[in-house]
């Protein structure tokens, strides 16, 4: 996408790049061309959209950066979560289940806000880790794992909110 391979990516620049590349490659731009060229443009446009999707998402962006360093990534490669994190997530899950049962929208909104803030903190920590000169892949993997926990919780909470709203 023509952006620096850093975690603290400027999302506005990323967005602009995505648009510039889409302008060049979107199938609409090649509607009058031959079949081979249309296929090629479509393939390239798909790559650009996929790259954009990866870079926009902090978890996948972090994984891509680690892959660039030759580190294997994926959920299986991450160290097990700390007991403290597990406890905290479990408590929140119980609160979530309760909010669902009692259809307590206010509680649900509060939970989402709390976990969202946690996720932001984890993401900031991940950024610090990437930026540090002594940045350590194992530490980064651990942070990615944390962020993943929060994300999953937020996804679940969002689908519960869908049903409640």
């Amino acid at each position: 996408m023509g952006v620096e391979p850093v975690f603290g990516l400027d999302l506005a620049i990323l967005e602009q790049r995505h648009r510039d590349l889409s302008r060049a490659l979107h199938p609409d731009r090649h509607a009058a061309s031959g079949a081979a060229e249309r296929r090629m443009a479509l393939g390239r446009a798909i790559e650009v959209n996929e790259a954009y999707r990866v870079l926009k998402d902090p978890v996948r962006r972090a994984e891509a950066l680690l892959s660039l360093r030759g580190v294997a990534t994926g959920e299986g490669k991450e160290p097990p979560a700390s007991p403290a994190l597990l406890m905290a997530v479990m408590e929140r899950r119980e609160a979530l289940a309760e909010a669902r049962q009692t259809k307590n929208e206010a509680a649900l909104t509060r939970l989402i806000a709390e976990v969202h803030a946690e996720a932001q903190r984890a993401q900031a920590a991940l950024g610090t880790e990437f930026a540090s000169t002594s940045s350590n892949s194992a530490e980064i993997l651990k942070r990615i794992g944390e962020l993943r926990y929060y994300r999953r919780f937020l996804d679940e909470a969002a689908s519960i909110a869908d049903d409640l709203l």
Binding site: P27, A36, N49
Partner: protein
Amino acid sequence: MLLDIFDPKAPPQAIGIDLGTTNSIVAHVRDGRPVPLTNCDGSALLPSVVHYGAEGSVLVGRNAAAYATREPERTIASVKRFMGRAADDVETKRLGAYKFVPGDASVVRFDLGKLTPSAIEVSAEILKSLRQSAIDQLMHVGGAVITVPAYFDDAQRQATRDAGRLAGLDVLRLLNEPTAAALAYGLDKQENGLFAVYDLGGGTFDVTILLLDGGVFQVKSTGGDSALGGDDMDREIAERMLSAMGATTTQTRTPEVVSIALEAARRAKHALTDAAEVHLELPQKGGGDVQFSLTRADFDAWIQPLLERTGKSCRRALRDAGLSASELNGVILVGGSTRVPRVRSYVRELFGKEPLSDIDPDLVVAYGAAIQADLLSRSSDEVLLLDVLPLSLGIETMGGGVDKILPRNTGIPAGAKATFTTYADNQTGFDLHVVQGEREIASDCRSLARFKLSGIPPLPAGFARLEVSFNVDENNLLSVKAVELTTGITQSVEVKPSYGLTDEEVEQMLIDALDHGESDFELRRLRDAQVEATRILLATDKALDSDADLLDNAERARVEQALTEARRAASSARTASVVENAISALDDATHEWAGRRMNRAIQSAIAGKNLGAVERSVAHAAGVEAHLANHLERQPR
């Protein structure tokens, strides 16, 4: 102007079609502005009603609607609600006058005695009528953009495209209705910012959040309900009318009685747009009339649950876009049902701002379609539409769950891969079930297709690795391919779409539809090939003007020769295959060059950046090493 009338070489004019639940419209761009093309009775709105006479006649529009209460079973309205559905779908069980052919799991067929037209064929009749209106006024009709609700799934989109083909249209693009509306508004008002499009039509509801920025229309999220609209408001009223008429049982609710009630309900709803109260006389069971009064307050209360369903979709779309209502610069109203005063006030409350409706909500979608058709046929670069996938795509897993491969609101065109393995020793076959929807259980989602992969080498369980690639093109249509990685061989994939017609069925219908069968069909193929050839010749000439320096002398000579031959074939060949072969030879000759030109385009898009770095970071970031090689085989239908 008179000269044009008899000039077969008049340039083809692209058209835009809003194929609506209640009304359909065809429009085109004249002198830079979209204008509707009127049908034979002088109106822009063609009622989406088709009447099949017992003796074989087919009527469309107002003439067909006139039969609604006389021959309700043979007068098909709101056929859009049946597109991409099956005979046992819930939609067929709702209040209505039709009989269906039972048991057809892939398509809805209306039971009219001798005739059993599918929903696709009924839609094709509407499109044929629109096409005829366009031909009457434009002489030479080129490609067409047809709009679909943003929330339509793959089966509904495929069905719409097949209807276009059956109607003899060259379908340039399926465009999402809210995006079309935004295009019409955006170009008209030259506004930038974040907008929500609230589109409540006769049978579908869509909400789309998009960013308008200097000619780019980027959809952030979309949501909706493809079975919710003005028809449901009519049903709310009709239910109460039927009770007042004494028709409370299925025996007394004959097709005639139901269609009288639905028609009266529609009129009452329209009257309530301006009046606070309406009084009607309805025929009563056992003779005589009964007085029926309805106040706007009653009606508002009855439709409140429907409005709340739209509100839920709107809140979700905002959340998916990561925005709150206050960040929006405006809300655009689209669809005839937004004329209902309570709908307007509900939207105002929901988004906290006065909605925009200064372009006629019945016409705005067709205008947007006409603009897009014009832009595409001119290869214009003034505007770029970036749309999204409306519903998640996934594969059924062991145990009936869903593995989501592409989540909803992913930008299209989109592609993704997933790897699966065998669960039994020496397993040589693999069944894949592609589904679309947000539910966790596969049977709750729409079934799109089933695949049977065979010829996997016998290996212990868990050793074979099947890579399934999904690609969604710019029409939001899916294609799927599977590769067995240990052998590296692409397995033959047998595609069985769960809904709709097969390619062979569509082809056969096209042949049957023509009076003289094969020879007409061949002639049409030749015409299509010539149109395609002209398009490609033009594009190649343009490319030679700008990028000839990317060819060495030998390559250039080869391209020139292929070009000459293609030109000759396009102007003098008598069979389609000669033209098609010449196009494909030209395609071969320009293939590598096209790759270089694509790279140049990328380079200039990221001016000042080193191309190598760009490509590396794209490839690394996405891990998309072989998307092109994996390009999908399922031929567009």
